[in-house]
Every structure is written in structure tokens, then in C-alpha cells.
């Protein structure tokens, strides 16, 4: 055997061992533990597909039931730490090292386990960053992925939640790795081939359909006047002024309120067709009224959203769909699109400091990054102009040759000055720094760095950080919209008024907005049921969002 084919030979041996528990490629759910114990080796790098939404939960349960004497010291390389099993395997000694991106629901437990030393942490990544490392130095030996259906040759239909799957399979299958797919059913012919069968080594018919979290549904009934006011300011003070057509919205009620104000408030401002036409976005149910009102040209999706499948099928002019009619999402491509082809990212965060650094980490929760640092950054590799991008660039330009000016991506934080339980959003020092100190992290977990943020929107006003010319101005601009937080009350009032005169700080009245007009009657939909009506009955919300 040549010295150049050791990985290939090892792969063949793993597959050979796994075949003992399979009929062809097909493995019964009851044999998952046997299969995994046969194909895994101590110290393997393993991607247990945990996406933002879709979860390879049957395989996760199987892995957590493996014998730690046989399967141990695994190095988990997956974007989402979402299911309890994703962390159980560290407690059991099955896994040891972790490189990941996002841990929303497990954020508190992962913090405890990091403090307790049960997890050897590599790094917390952005999605694109982790995907990139799959091809350089974190290539999985084994990928455990999830799809809707497969045929006996392994041709895989991922369903609307394609998400990370193509990226994970690309890195594993083409570099001597083993790919195991759990599917909800084995069929004679898949609706469409998302992953060709020669990249799939084993197919497990799961005992129950994989779990998907409805992560992007915001109930309009819970939207507050404050959030509506902030959305009005964002539309009038940012979307309209910069003519933002290509954009990405983070999750949150502030951004959902913007979506619901497009067919009402923004329509009255005459902005239809001028803003918010091209999107990198999960299929937010709150975007339905804007789509139905003809605002939206197209939407490319990172993943899907529970209940939106029928609606998407009936709107192929707007969404990317396969020959079978269902949504094709792709996290890696959509993240790239959001990074390079969108002129604005707007999202929320938990803490912002006096420079504008922001973080969703608190001392008791490590939520990870997901995609926001990619969406919320100014891509220095961008070379195509747009009016929005150039206008932002002109505002930021302080010195140098105007002929060599480049544009700026707008990165907007939309936050209420106080969060849950009166916790202030604006702080002198991010909790992330304390966490980094305690865990001895080389890099503090900052979500969006100050030099990428261009605007901060709060209920008190908009701070345009592009126009600030020094750190002092920047700090006072931030204090000037920080409301009644300690940071806000610590402002230099005279300086904030000077910044206001220069348009760096803008109050609702400066934008011609009366705060008392911020009323729920402005929302295109006031309830989930309204969204169902807008969709012509095509949107099928999950049970927990129904009240009928």
C-alpha cells in the first residue's frame, strides 16, 4: 500500500466495519449505536450536524449511548450546540474537544461546563469561519447529518432546511471521511437530489422525524410600542436615507417590526420599490405582508422556518426553490451573500460598550456567534459599488485621497436601552471581557467590533457613528442614545446637543416622528393569525404560536 493512501485505507476499513450493521447503505435506527461504535475511532474529528434549526437528533442520541471505552476523546466540530446530547457526550467522556459557532438554547450549560473544565474549547467561530476551517484544519473524519429522505443508494433530499449539510458533506466526503445520514424515511425516489448518493456512506431511517426549532418566528401580538417606534426610526432615518435595497435582518422584535411596517408606514412614505427589495434572510413569517404587498423581489435563505414550506412553494418568484418546488436553503452561500452582496445588516445584541463593541455573552451564558459577526462586518474584499455603500463610505471618509475611497457596509444595532428585568444594554465594560479572563480565552467573544458598527438605533434616537470624528464624539453619540441607563445618564448634555446639530444624534422629532404615534395599528399584522390570512392560508404556524 502506498504511503499516500493511508487515510483512504482507514476510511475503507471504517466502512467495512460499518457494513456489518447495514443492509447495503441502509441501517435500522436500532443499530445506530453499533454502527457508530464500528466507524468511529478515538480522537476522531466529528461533525454531529447541529444546525441553527435542523438537528441530527437520532444520531445524537445514538452517539450519546456509545460505550466511552470504545468511543472517546472525540473532537466535535459542528456549528450548533443545541440538543442536550450535544453536551452529554462531553460529560460521558465520549467527546473532549469542541469547536463550534452557536449554542443558543444550551448557552448556560455550556458556560458551566467550560468553567468546570469538562470541555476543551478550541474556539467559538462564526459560521463561515467554521465552514472554512472544515476545508483547512478542522476536516471531519466522520459527519453525522440529517435529511428528510434518501433512497437506498444514499441520494439525499435535505428538505427546505438544507442549511449546513452540503458544506459538511463536501468537506468530509471528499477528504476520506465517512458520512452517515439520518432520514425521516427511505424512499424509492427522492423529490430532488440535494446530495448525490456517492457522498453518503450510510443511511439511517430515524425512529422519528428530525427536530426543527421555529427560531425565526416572532409573534406580532408581542410587539411593543417601543419596538414600533424604533422600527419607524430605522425606516425613515436609515433605510430611506441610504436607499437600502439589499439587506439582511437579524432575529428580534425590532427587525420583525420593520418587516411589518413596510406595507404600512414605509408605503405611506413612498418607499415601495426603493428599499428592502433583495434579501438574505430566513423565511421570516413577519415578511409575509411585505411579500404579499409586492415589496420583495427575492429572498435567499440560510435555512427554512417551521410552517413556511407551503407558502414558499407557492412563491417561487421570490424564493430559491428546487425542481420539486420546495425551498433550497444553504447556510454557507447565504452567509457569503449576506457578507458581500448586502449593503446593510441590522440586528440586536445584549450589550454595547462606550466604543460600540457589542456582545451577546453574559457571565452565565455563552450563546456563541452564529452568523452575526459575518453579516455585521464590513467586508474588505468587496469591490462592487452601490449607491448605499458609496454614501456610507463618503460619510466615513476623514482623510486621504477621495479617488481611493471605498464604500462601507451599514452595520446597524437596533436595541432597547434596557433589556429583560431592567438590565441595561449599554455598559462601560462588556461581560465578555470578564468571561474571557475567567476562561483564559485569548480572544474576548465580541459579536460585532466597534469599527464595524455604523449606526445604533434605540427608542431615544439614532447614533450615526460613521460621522463621528474621534473617540470622544463616538462615546457621546452612544451615550446620547443610551436613554436612562447609567451610561446614558452619564452623557455630556451640551456635547450631545452639538452632535445632534450635526445630525450624528437624531431624535424621533428630528426625523419628523411623534413617539405617541408609534402604535400597534401601524403593524401590517397584529397576530400570527393575521399572518396566516396575509398568506392566503398557506402559512401553517406551529402549535405553540396559535391562539385559535
Amino acid at each position: 500500500m502506498s504511503g499516500w493512501r493511508r487515510e483512504r485505507a482507514a476510511r475503507d476499513a471504517r466502512i467495512e466495519a460499518g457494513r456489518a450493521h447495514a443492509a447495503g447503505k441502509v441501517v435500522a435506527a436500532a443499530s445506530v449505536v453499533d454502527l457508530l461504535e464500528a466507524i468511529l475511532r478515538p480522537g476522531d474529528r466529528v461533525c454531529l450536524e447541529g444546525d441553527n434549526q435542523k438537528q441530527a437528533d437520532c444520531l445524537a442520541r445514538g452517539l450519546s449511548q456509545c460505550d466511552p471505552a470504545r468511543v472517546h476523546d472525540l473532537h466535535m466540530v459542528q456549528s450548533g450546540i443545541v440538543l442536550p446530547e450535544h453536551l452529554d457526550i462531553f460529560e460521558q467522556g465520549i467527546a473532549k474537544r469542541l469547536d463550534y459557532s452557536y449554542s443558543g438554547p444550551q448557552g448556560a450549560r455550556i458556560a458551566r461546563m467550560l468553567y468546570g473544565g469538562q470541555i476543551a474549547l478550541g474556539a467559538v467561530h462564526t459560521y463561515l469561519e467554521l465552514f472554512a476551517r472544515y476545508f483547512i484544519d478542522l476536516t471531519p473524519n466522520v459527519a453525522l447529518i440529517a435529511g428528510v429522505s434518501a433512497d437506498r443508494e444514499g441520494n439525499l433530499y435535505t428538505g427546505p432546511n438544507t442549511e449546513d449539510t452540503p458544506t459538511v458533506v463536501e468537506a468530509t466526503a471528499f477528504k476520506n471521511g465517512v458520512v452517515v445520514a439520518q432520514v425521516n424515511e427511505i424512499v424509492d425516489r427522492v423529490p430532488r437530489v440535494d446530495i448525490p448518493g456517492d457522498r453518503i456512506d450510510f443511511v439511517v431511517e430515524a425512529d422519528k422525524p428530525f427536530y426543527v426549532e421555529p427560531l425565526f418566528t416572532r409573534d406580532p401580538a408581542a410587539m411593543t410600542e417601543t419596538q414600533i417606534l424604533m422600527a419607524m426610526m430605522a425606516i425613515k432615518g436609515i433605510y430611506a436615507e441610504y436607499g437600502i435595497r439589499r439587506l439582511n435582518h437579524g432575529i428580534g422584535f425590532g427587525t420583525a417590526a420593520i418587516e411589518l411596517l413596510l406595507p404600512t408606514y414605509a408605503e405611506r412614505l413612498g418607499l415601495k420599490g426603493k428599499i428592502a427589495t433583495h434579501w438574505a434572510l430566513n423565511p421570516h413569517p413577519t415578511l409575509i405582508p411585505a411579500i404579499e404587498s409586492g415589496w420583495v423581489s427575492q429572498v435567499h435563505c440560510f435555512g427554512s422556518e417551521v410552517g413556511m414550506d407551503r407558502y414558499i412553494r407557492e412563491r417561487p418568484d421570490v424564493f430559491f426553490t428546487g425542481a420539486d418546488g420546495s425551498l433550497r436553503s444553504n447556510r454557507a452561500f447565504c452567509q457569503t451573500a449576506g457578507l458581500y452582496a448586502c449593503d446593510l445588516f441590522i440586528g440586536s445584541t445584549l450589550q454595547i460598550d462606550l466604543s460600540g463593541h457589542s456582545s451577546t455573552v453574559t457571565q452565565s451564558r455563552v450563546a456563541g456567534f452564529g452568523g452575526a459577526p459575518n453579516m455585521g462586518s464590513d467586508p474588505h474584499g468587496r469591490r462592487h459599488p452601490s449607491d448605499t455603500w458609496m454614501k456610507a463610505g463618503r460619510e466615513a471618509l476623514v482623510t486621504g485621497d477621495p479617488a481611493l475611497m471605498r464604500g462601507r457596509k451599514l452595520v446597524v444595532q437596533i436595541v432597547e436601552t434596557f433589556g429583560e428585568k431592567l438590565v441595561p444594554t449599554f455598559v462601560e465594560k462588556l461581560d465578555a471581557l470578564e468571561l474571557a479572563r475567567k476562561l483564559k480565552l485569548e480572544l474576548a467573544p465580541v459579536m460585532v467590533y466597534a469599527d464595524d458598527v455604523t449606526h445604533i438605533v434605540t427608542e431615544e434616537g439614532i447614533a450615526n457613528l460613521l460621522l463621528c470624528r474621534d473617540a470622544d464624539e463616538r462615546e457621546q453619540a452612544i451615550r446620547g442614545v443610551a436613554g436612562y441607563t447609567e451610561v446614558g445618564r452619564g452623557r455630556d448634555r451640551a456635547m450631545v446637543e452639538r452632535l445632534r446639530a450635526r445630525g450624528i444624534v437624531r431624535r424621533p422629532e428630528d426625523l419628523g416622528i411623534e413617539p405617541l404615534d408609534a402604535d400597534r395599528s401601524l403593524l401590517a399584522a397584529k397576530s400570527i393569525k393575521d399572518l396566516v390570512h396575509w398568506s392566503g392560508g398557506l402559512y401553517e404556524p406551529p402549535a405553540k404560536f396559535r391562539n385559535w
Binding site: T224, E225, T226, E416, T417, F418, K421, L422, E459, E460, G483, Y484, R489, P515, L516
Partner: protein, 102 residues
């Protein structure tokens, strides 16, 4: 429960003739504000009962900004707080003043 009282001198009486108005609801993150035309036109008082202790400074700042902005002379304001954020308090106070002015 923490009880707070603020007294302010005002330059002019609040417009309108309405004797009283109430706005908001005592619910989580919300509050109710009762306004009564019961004081001399150069005075305004704000009494607050809040279940969240230790935010006296913030209440003081919110009330001072409201008084400076609305000049609610002659008005006795009483607040039952359900743990509202300062921006909600500001909004309710302004809504209340508007109701008194009609």
C-alpha cells in the same frame, strides 16, 4: 415595594380642562398613570409605587425630563408600577399629559 415622591415647580399650567385621566395597566413591564388636576398651577407632584427597588435615580431623571418637556403645572400624578422600563414610563407620562389636554 418602594415609594417615591417627586415635587417640581412648573412654569405654566398643563393645557386643557380635563379633571383627571388614567392610562396604562399594571402588568409586567407596564404601569398605570393617574393624572388629577388637583394642585396650584405652579406645582406638579409625582408619587410612585414600584415593586423594583433601587431605581430612584432613574425615576428622578425620567420624571425631571417629563416635567421639563410637558410642563404639567397643577397636576398630581400617581403611578402604580409593574416593573416598567424607563422608556415605557416616559411614554405613559406623555400619553397621560396628552389625555389631559384634550
Amino acid at each position: 415595594m418602594e415609594k417615591l415622591t417627586f415635587r417640581h415647580a412648573t412654569k405654566k399650567p398643563l393645557a386643557g380642562a380635563k379633571a383627571q385621566a388614567i392610562t396604562g395597566v399594571v402588568a409586567s413591564g407596564n404601569l398605570e398613570v393617574l393624572l388629577e388636576r388637583a394642585l396650584p398651577p405652579d406645582a406638579c407632584t409625582v408619587e410612585i409605587e414600584t415593586p423594583i427597588n433601587g431605581y430612584g435615580d432613574v425615576w428622578e431623571a425620567v420624571v425631571a425630563d417629563f416635567v421639563a418637556r410637558a410642563q404639567p403645572g397643577g397636576i398630581r400624578i400617581t403611578i402604580n408600577d409593574g416593573g416598567a422600563r424607563p422608556d415605557t414610563v416616559s411614554l405613559r407620562l406623555l400619553q397621560g399629559a396628552r389625555l389631559m389636554e384634550v
